[in-house]
Amino acid sequence: MSLVELEGLSAGYRGSPVLSDISATIGAGGWLGVIGPNGSGKSTLLKAVLGLVHHGGTVTVDGRHVSGLRQRERAKLLGYAPQLPQLPVGITVTDYVLLGRTPYTGLLGRESTGDLDIVVEVLERLDLLDLAERALSELSGGERQRAVLARALAQRTGVLLLDEPTTGLDVGHAQALLDLVDELRHERGTTVVTTLHDLTMAGQYAERLLLLDHGRVSAEGTPGEVLTTDVLGRHYSARVSVLPLPDGSPSVTPVREAVRRPLEG
């Protein structure tokens, strides 16, 4: 289990600030959902936590400052699946998932039998064993998303950072993927941070939500506290209806403005 703390985190690209003064605490084994309109800095937040973009402030995992760690040590703490992963041309699912063992292998060396055991276990868990020898390019969108998640899981990190993990998935596969992440979280105590566009799903899976707008924290709390008609209307410029589901989590439904059509005849 890993406790993640962000303190005064700011980040940007080539001098253009994207994030300012982000502070949050994600409890060990917790799930933080990062939501916000397009361009609000959700993906940049994950990259700043990983140290992939220039940033200020501090990120600690179990009290260890991430910026002070060597790249390989960082990769043993933080697993990452990007929103639009670049998939190496022609390599098999197994080869791709094996890349997740990089932090544990010598720089030029080979993976051990133990590494392969972990990869086989992950492939089995994500129902990818049947596809293990297939080229990544031959997989469907849902299968590719699972392969990317498998690669991140093979890192065996205490923290999992998933950037829009359900992008391109139909509702069934999106649910299955998030269910699986939740199962693994409960089994292994993995701390999960995801960015999500689907607000209803974000409210159902994440324990707490962080709403970003223009690179700043606009709201933070339980899904019930953040997903309100007022907050969403203000920050998304959207007309939504928020109703409670049977389990108490909020369901966010877009509401179309009444259309005025000229009467015929």
Partner: protein, 363 residues
Amino acid sequence: MRDSRTLPAHTLGASASSSRRHRRPRGSTLRPSHLLIGIAALAVLTLVSVLTGAAELGWQRVLAELGAQLTGGVSPLSEREAAILWQLRVPRVVLAVLVGAALAVSGAAFQGVFRNPLADPYLLGAASGAGLSVTIVVTAIPQVTLGSTGLAQVAAFLGALGGVGLTWLIGRSAGPDTATLVLAGVAVSAFLTAAQTFVQQLRVESLQRIYMWLLGRLSTSGWYEVLTVLPGLFLATVVLCACGRLLDLLGTGDEEAAALGIRPGRVRALILVAASLATASAVSVAGLIGFVGLVVPHLVRLALGGSYRVIVPVSLLFGGAFLVGADMLARTVMAPAELPIGVITAFTGAPFFALLLHTSRRR
């Protein structure tokens, strides 16, 4: 109504037990069979090439000579035949192996670094840099002959590295991504080629010699060429063969590679330096031999998959074999005249490559 999806959403992770009957995946590694096939192809072509030439040596006598050299026995060859074998044919075949291997391995490395199967060893200006340097030397010093002095080789080597260095400087100043580096390579190549053409026109009498060099040539004066390029080629190929896994990692993009624990910028620089060293070494003794660095890694990829752990070392063997075969054809097709080897590599490689691409796409 039954759900027609092969994998219903709620069953993710539930079919683990049924999956256990499948063969345990192993991942792509260099298997002994890959090496054996490559070594066998190289050995057969090398032997046939050594036996091929105007002087008939006979394969039994050549094998007996090899045995005699290994055991210290009596040579079955005359002094003249032994000289033909050990001072002419064997060094030339060894040089073909080294140059072919270097071009194929560096081609594979360039394709991996730039995530582009169309990349070749001359992408970053090595060819145009070497071409300009050699042209300057040949036109400025008319006594320089391309086959008998180290000066043209040194010029080609430094020119190739200079071309890549210039591309690197311009590319890095414009941006950190690989696309910028490729564009810088295009600009540098165009400029250096224009400069080479200009210098060439100043001394029209040297046109033929420069032209022959540009088409690629393998000629040896004993073991001199082999020994001069061996250290650089050896160092570069060892580094590149060890970098197969890193090339696979670069294929995930810089952000993911960094998140997996490597520094992609440093890794890319290391691989490009090694690949450029191999290319410059090859260019310095053989001129510009096209197609090997593009075709061989691509054929290996089509046959054995996309992992550079396999592509790089297997390309090493088949690159050497390919160029030995091409050199044999260059020496025999119009014997006693010799064709430029670059013509042979393009003539044989291009149609075969097109056919293979066509059939693989149809599959």
